[in-house]
Amino acid sequence: MGARYFGAAVKRREDPRFLRGEGRFVDDVTLPGLLHAAFLRSPHAHARVAAIRTEAAAAMPGVVRIFTFSDLERWMKPLPLFGAPPPGLAAAIRFDLRQAPQYPLCRDRARHVGEIVAMVVADSRYRAEDAVERIEVDWEPLPPVVEVRAASEAGAPLLHPEWATNVAVAFTHAIGDTAAAFARAEVTLEETFTIQRYVGMPLEGRGVVAAWDRRDGSVTTWNSTQVSHFVQQGLATVLELPPHKIRVVAPDLGGGFGTKASGYAEDALIPIAARVLGRPVKWIEDRREHMVGAAHARDQVHAIALAARRDGTILAVRDRIWLDLGAYNVWGIVLPYNTVAHLIGPYRIRDLHVDVKAVVTSKTPNAPYRGAGRPEAVFAMDRAVDCLARRLGMDPADIRRRNYIRPDELPYDFGMPYRDGNPLVYDSGDFPAALEAALSAVDYDERRREQGRLRAEGVHRGIGISGYVEGTAIGPFEGATIKLDLSGRVSVATGAVNSGQGHETTFAQIAADALGVPLDWVTVVGGDTAAVPFGVGTFASRSAVTAGNSIADAASEVRSKLVRAAAALLEASPADIEIADGRAAVRGVPDSAVPLARVIQAAIPTFARPGVAAPDFEATAYHHVPTVTYASAVHVAHVEVDVGTGLVKLLRYVVAHDCGKVINPTIVEGQVHGGVAQGVGGALYEEMVYDESGQLLTGTLMDYLVPTAMELPPIETVHLEFPSPRNPLGVKGLGEGGAISPPAAIANAIDDALAPFGVCVTATPASPARLLALLDARQP
């Protein structure tokens, strides 16, 4: 396969339609006779539903039907649950795991503000919302469960009484002999770190349109989802239809970030309404609903301890982790075990002991969001390492130089499973090189010199470092189908959904090279279940690896078919056929070149003769990955803290990263920038705040602070390229990485800036109020 497009900074092929306002997002889908849904959501954090009266609402103008649980009992199946431990993991660790069913409509008890109680379908969204306000519910409030550690204690009010506890996941994981390492340590350090609840917040909310076709008893649904095939599987259960009667189409997505990869009530409710009413129905989430109805994320407490020698060598890590899951344990062991599997990161540590409790509370359920348990692990670990460095009087760069795993130690086997159950073995990379590249980009030594000078002038600047190693591209596979038409033009269909990552460009680059056709001959379709039979979806930094390699596999199979057909047409041996730039030729005989269209057309039977070969220029591949591949990066933040106001200004932000072979460097940089921006939000601004009664206090974008262009600095990227040996293309996942390290890097930089005051940032976001409180506590 030639590499004409792979690696090139090709301009994005999807851009013109977005630039012209001609994208097709879910709210742009419209159908004749379309009805509109709106939901009544619980105003209580925890309450019993004693009675619902819908008569007055049903009589409102334009209302077609109102549905409660009892009206739809026949269709009420529990929402999909994910995250049972795979065999290799279950064999190694004993998980105490509880998952309770959640119904699309509340049966008798609401467990968080925003849980859906009733659905109104009307002839316009305005009128549906009018009717929602007229539904009367008799609520019997129950005690809310808000603080995660209190929720995990015996005697706390119970959200799922049948469990007799709120602890949904509990396990202990250990490698080596941590107790012995602590016993021989010259220094130990213990600190508690809190990572707040913050979220993906795609600029487009969720949305679903569904139409029931009476002619063949099928459903088509457009859903702003990252996981069309999962939605299809869920609907097969709910609607009791075979999957081929359910077509799920992911249109253009206005961002996803994991928020749109979870299983949701509305995924089922809108198709159910369309099925029951025999009319197409649309629901578009508004921002207020999104705040309480779309998955939240992060929200962990770490009581972490390090054992070390006085020279800075880290010997062992002990951590106790509490994870606030919200009201339902939708994702099983995924988030807690992701955190555990990423705690050690780039450090050479052989002794680890972790106790984990993931706990339900009366808040919106958590789901994986860009990083998915990793930013929390990295925050706890890299903050602890900086605290240790300070204790030892070491430079934060030097303690990392001493402890980072060297490239000659790779592949590095931890002697524990990854989350997919396979051994956790780093495949490739160079973490010390990333560290030095990032430090050199920011001119670390000069920054240190200038720091002392500026402090004397009352200017407080700090440098913070954080590194991570990320298991990317979890399997087991992705599906891709490639078809050539009569003109030789190519359609590539995959289960991987594009939500802004540029799949229509990068996947076309891979396919065009593998087939030997011009880039603009290739059209990429993601997330249409009718176009590829089996798929998984886009999450976990997996699409370039899983879909990319499936596309390469399928394309090479189609290319072999083209070679055979061209050989028959040109009366040559297949070994002598070359395909390039959309033409087939006999090697060394340029005059023999024919357009692929001719090769394909010659293969099609006519009345005059059979084709010269079978006209089957199509292939489907399901590339199976052996396990994840490890991407890595070192981030360096340079900040200035105003000690009068507590305001943090980001001066520079540098990322030195390895995502294996780069398909498109411009797109890679864009992904890094976007990840960093979300990480900066988590470090400094964003937080879903609940009061003690379980009410969300940050229900608007005036309260939940997404960074603007004013808050972000230019982001500098250094590409290191260590191909993965675990897939033919040598690529690694990239989407999440940027978001993993900023909270740790920025908090470390703030500590560094405020070192003269002895401030230690133990919780994010590091807001002005929080920093002023820390400064006040430290000032004489």
């Binding site: 013109p16 630039l19 994208g23 997002f25 917040m201 206005g254 262009a709 230019p714």
Partner: protein, 155 residues
Amino acid sequence: MNRTVRLRVNGERHERLVEVRKTLADFLREDLALTGTHVGCEHGVCGACTVLLHGEPVRSCLLLAVQAEDTEITTIEGLADGEQLHPLQQAFWDHHGLQCGFCTPGILLTAKAFLEECPHPTDDEIREALSGNLCRCTGYHFIVEAIRAAAEGRR
């Protein structure tokens, strides 16, 4: 309650009977089928629904359609000159100034009005001008570069 509203959108005259409570954003999207105007928050923060009213950027989610009576509105569909992309659109394409494309229409229209007012901006001025438009994908880095390039192209 309904009322007739008359206005010009992208140079074309429209006269429609609308519910008085209907937002300008919903009117543009539903009544005129101009779905390039995106609704991101419906409370005036995110800027995705930005359109130009007499050349000034406004939040179409915070205006009612009937308030746009007798106005001249420009939406994203009116930015290009037929097949020819507007220089800002071209610069966003050249500089990877968009990812999911949902915030893009509002940002392009904001940038258009900004460059007319401030043709030679510094990066800080560009960032300040953008501060009423949220983008969740790009970190703004390439958006700033695209606007700077469009401004330089005008010189």
